[in-house]
């Protein structure tokens, strides 16, 4: 494997991990978010604005994108407080599509033709961001927050009646998700040296979401597997050809069915043991 392709794989994996994290964290709190594209668009806009500074402005762009994306996620959480299920999925889809349309309409990303940016060496910053978010994920998954999110996902009414700070649980989950998504957008834009509104649309978001769902959210291994799946998607697409969508959708559906059967088997086993 050449140096160029190793660099490519490293950056794509880091971007994928951050993007998958922006799906997995709200999913752990019981909400299917399709706002990943919108968060990535915030990062893309920051990457366009910040091209000066040390290392071509890459670290500054990632930090600014993380802060702005986190703020965007928090605002979205406050606006969509106690909104769940399909309504939340649709609101977040609206955010993604509105951000894509904003990029196109404003001309900030060069309209339909896209915008060239100075290329920069993003590998160390990509690895650094990915590792930093892995540490954040480990900390979150081991903290009492994870338990509270689990309860919110499985028994939302119970979580409310127990007096859990539901609003803040939602704000934290979407703020971290927004931060990760925006950092992914900034990294991707600077790595490609090209800003393109369509890279942050609904279709790209659905691919990342499916990979995240297929990999599971309960263990830290899930986001890691999901990021590998996103990196492998283009390769799988080349192998599967026109059947790429069938393979991806089929894998996700098979994983969901397998998880359902395992859950039922576990329940039956527990039932027979206690009976």
């Amino acid at each position: 494997m050449g140096e160029a392709s190793l660099t490519d794989l490293t950056v794509r994996w880091a971007v994928a991990l951050l993007a998958v994290a922006s799906v997995v964290i709200p999913l752990r709190a019981g909400r299917l978010s399709l706002a990943t594209g919108g968060f990535m668009a915030i990062g893309g806009l920051v990457a366009i604005a910040v091209t000066a500074g040390p290392a071509g402005g890459v670290p500054l762009a990632i930090v600014c994108a993380g802060i702005l994306g986190g703020a965007g996620g928090a605002v979205l959480a406050l606006a969509a407080h106690r909104v769940g299920g399909i309504a939340f999925a649709m609101v977040t889809l609206a955010v993604t599509e509105a951000m894509r349309a904003l990029l196109l309409a404003s001309g900030l990303a060069g309209g339909g033709a896209g915008l060239r940016l100075p290329q920069a060496d993003v590998v160390p910053w990509a690895l650094g961001s990915a590792l930093a978010f892995l540490v954040v994920l480990v900390a979150l998954w081991r903290s009492p927050l994870a338990g509270a999110w689990d309860l919110l996902a499985e028994r939302p009414r119970l979580a409310v009646s127990m007096g859990l700070p539901v609003r803040w649980l939602e704000v934290i989950s979407l703020a971290v998700a927004g931060s990760a998504g925006a950092a992914a957008g900034a990294l991707l834009t600077r790595y490609r040296g090209f800003a393109d509104a369509d890279a942050f649309g609904a279709l790209a978001t659905i691919d990342v979401t499916l990979a995240a769902i297929a990999s599971g959210v309960d263990l830290l291994l899930g986001p890691l597997l999901g990021s590998v799946l996103v990196v492998l998607l283009p390769e799988a697409g080349r192998v599967a050809g026109v059947w790429r969508g069938v393979v991806l959708g089929g894998v996700v559906l098979a994983v969901l069915l397998a998880r359902l059967m395992l859950e039922r088997y576990g329940r039956r086993t527990r039932g027979s043991l206690s009976g």
Binding site: L27, G30, R31, L32, A79, A80, R82, V83, G84, G85, I86, A87, A89, M90, V91, L93, A94, V95, E97, A98, R100, A101, L102, L104, A105, G111, A153, E154, P156, R157, V160, V166, A202, L203, I206, T209, L210, I213, V242, W243, R244, G245, V246, V247, L248, G249, G250, V252, L253, L256, L257, L260
Partner: protein, 283 residues
């Protein structure tokens, strides 16, 4: 000029309304949010792509049947096994089923945008506006179909049966109505409506691809959610969003169209959900 904007907006809005209706049928019939509905629109147009020389009525029948079969497949493969699970499971499984369905459609019928032959060649002048034959067929068929679906859901035995299944699928068995049959009816009916909407959309738009119709269908889902899944408001909201889009595209440029409509839809869903709670809200 205003008439032209209004009519082209109504043409797009009617397709959004039909996509929203197909989504609403699934919700009314099974209490499940079928995110594969946009791809069911594309199932209809696959027939037009595969049989370009076939007479229009045959394409309409084949397209609707393809939608019905695809709706059943999604229902039994991706919804029925997860009926007892939480809504997030339904969203995930139908999202995956939609990706599979679009994969099958593009593999069989191609993914490139193609011109679909108009089912009628004449032009119609309404006020200062002139509509091409395909646009007339698309608008007329969409509106007619939307009215028919609203009537079927609200005033016929089939509609009552579908809605009964959505209210208490498990209890319908006690009344002698097999749950699996009600579920299958709702899924097939939703698939046929979506596919017919896709065909009407192809007539209105002229040049389409399965991907373009799927994106249009996604907006239809947002329309249905904003309108609370009630058939008449869904159709009216679809028409309203279509007119808004046409106006924005005409006066502010094409890029403003999606920005305006998605912003309005997002805010409308938030307001409705906060107001209602119920099946949409979490608490």
């Amino acid at each position: 000029m205003v008439e032209q904007v209004l009519l082209s907006g109504l043409a797009t809005g009617a397709i959004l309304g039909l996509a929203g209706l197909a989504f609403a049928i699934g919700v009314l019939g099974s209490r499940v949010y079928n995110l594969a509905t946009p791809e069911l629109l594309a199932a209809g147009v696959a027939a037009a792509f595969l049989f370009p020389a076939a007479p229009w009525w045959l394409v309409a029948v084949l397209g609707s049947l393809a939608g019905g079969v695809a709706g059943l497949a999604v229902g039994w493969g991706a919804i029925r096994p997860f009926l007892a699970q939480s809504p997030v499971w339904h969203l995930a499984s139908t999202l995956a089923a939609g990706t599979m369905l679009l994969g099958v459609i593009t593999a069989v019928a191609g993914s490139e945008p193609r011109r679909v032959a108009a089912w009628w060649d004449g032009d119609v002048a309404i006020g200062g506006a002139v509509l091409a034959g395909g646009q007339v067929v698309g608008l007329g068929a969409s509106l007619l179909l939307a009215v028919l679906v609203v009537l079927v859901l609200g005033w016929t035995g089939l509609g009552r049966i579908i809605r009964a299944g959505g209210d208490r699928l498990d209890a319908t068995g006690l009344l002698g109505l097999p749950g699996w049959l009600l579920f299958s009816l709702a899924m097939a009916f939703a698939g046929m409506v979506a596919a017919a909407g896709g065909l009407a959309g192809a007539q209105s738009l002229g040049t389409v691809s399965p991907g373009i119709l799927a994106i249009l269908g996604l907006k239809g889902l947002a329309v249905a959610t904003a309108a609370g899944f009630r058939p008449v408001p869904v159709v009216l909201a679809g028409l309203g969003i279509g007119v808004l889009e046409a106006g924005l595209a005409f006066w502010l440029g094409p890029a403003a169209r999606d920005l305006g409509s998605w912003t309005v839809l997002g805010i409308a869903i938030l307001l409705r959900t906060r107001q209602e709670g119920g099946i949409l809200g979490r608490g």
